[in-house]
Amino acid sequence: MGGGGGSDVKNAVWMRALIMAGIILGVAVVSYVGLGVVVANMKHHTWEEEEIHYDEVKATWQAEVDAGNISSADETNAFYEAKEAAHHHEIEAHLSYLTYRVAGLAVLFVGIIFAAFLSISGILNSSQADEHHDDHHGHDEHEHHGSASPIIFSFGCLLFLLGFPDFADGLHGLMMGSTKGTIGDLAVSMMGLTIVTVGIANWWREDLPFVGYGEQLATSDPFAGQHIRKAGIWVFLMSEVMVFATFFSSYLRMRTEWCTKWAFDDGKCTLDPGENLAMTASDYLRPGGAAGTGDFWTMLPGAVNTFALIISSYTIVLALKIAKSHDYKAPSGFLGSLMPTKKAAIRNYLIITLALGTMFIVLKLVEWSHLIAEGFTIGTEQGSIFYVATGAHGVHVFAGLLVMLYMIFKADTVEWSEENAQGIEYFGLYWHFVDLAWVVIFPAFYLY
């Protein structure tokens, strides 16, 4: 696979991938030790103290009930109020511990994947001889830029999904301490993941030297004259719209039959004796929600994530704008010291986008851990559609982050220019789509 015309990328350049992987892994380990171990252990200690305090206050309340001084149904006496306050503090301490523990683990997990992705692709590419391309093909718009990588990648995905039910069973068995039949359970999916990795590494090898010459144009309607890759990404995005529309329509269909607090208060449904209100995620997160757990802080991760995605959409637009600019002028002040050159500006805007996307994943996992701790699990109808829809969106964000790693690497080595800026543009379309999907998911699942 020629990968189109391009500049020569020396194998030594691939060492930068290993250096970047090392930096990312280092940051992840330090973050994990700081958040997930040191702070989390302090929070765990506080949680244990609150648990002991709650047990003591509860025992005191129980003793008063047993002595007949107060009624167990009386919720106005000081003993009951002290017990409830202690219970509230215990829950708060548990959630606080979960926040740091999950955040630390999430950063470590994401960092390991990022580092593995960078280093595996780097090593695979280093094992090949340098290819010498003629960098001056002329601007032939019809030069071949075909690749087998998407087919390899798709085949890997197929195998991974085929084996996924067994894979999930195998992972569950491993977590439960059983190793019986684990290899067989994991085999098909692991083979799929290996092929996916090979496909990505090959894709990377082909595209890295690509400096923009040879962008293939469509020759027939309805895309005649348009760049084939751009048409392709739009068609891909529209298939993604259907994926998310399926989740959304499932949610709407189920939601019309749920008797939620909002529907109940509006007189849209009634409850039979013994029947409870249907609890959605927003009932746990939103102030005034039926679960009674929602306040400013439970809303915060979702709201911050919404702003993070919008800001990241803007930063990738800025990276594209600079890549397409003829004459880059460094801004004045602090921003100028961060972005002194065109190369640094593009790379750093992409790094900011990566950091915001990573924060999105970490906050989402923290939020999930809180919801699960409060009893909103995937075992309910409401939990099932919530975790599947927001999880699918999270997977899209994560896949985008892996591509972003490559974009940053290319920004640091081959560099983005007016000639090859369409790479940022096409990836930007995907990233904006992920933002757009969140525009629908956030109000539907978190606010309503």
């Binding site: 048409a231 509006d266 809303m299 702003f307 959409s313 933002d435 109000p443 606010l447």
Partner: protein, 121 residues
Amino acid sequence: MGEHKLYWGKDIYFWNFIVLMIFTLFEVGAVFFEEIPGTDIPVSLTAVWGILIIVGIVKGFGIGAFFMHLWDDPRIYLRVALLPTVFVLLMLWGIGLSNPEGVTGLPGWCTPNWDSLVTER
């Protein structure tokens, strides 16, 4: 590309970003407050629905038109982007029809006139 036209010294991307941020604040605020701040007027379910849908449309337009360049790009991309809308609308219609409320509870404009399809002998 929208960076060539400047409005008050900034390009369209910047202003689009500002509008998206403001509308997101509005969206979160609509749900965060149970009453309109400074009044005793409760924020009803219908009001929340309305605000979320309007904000969603504005944000969707801002991202699609300017960040995804549909405003300036050849119209074929807009047509491609609108194609799934047909299927999504069909899906929503299907939800209405498959809902127990679909027979009697939904407005007539979203259900077909089944009576006209009855075979008369």
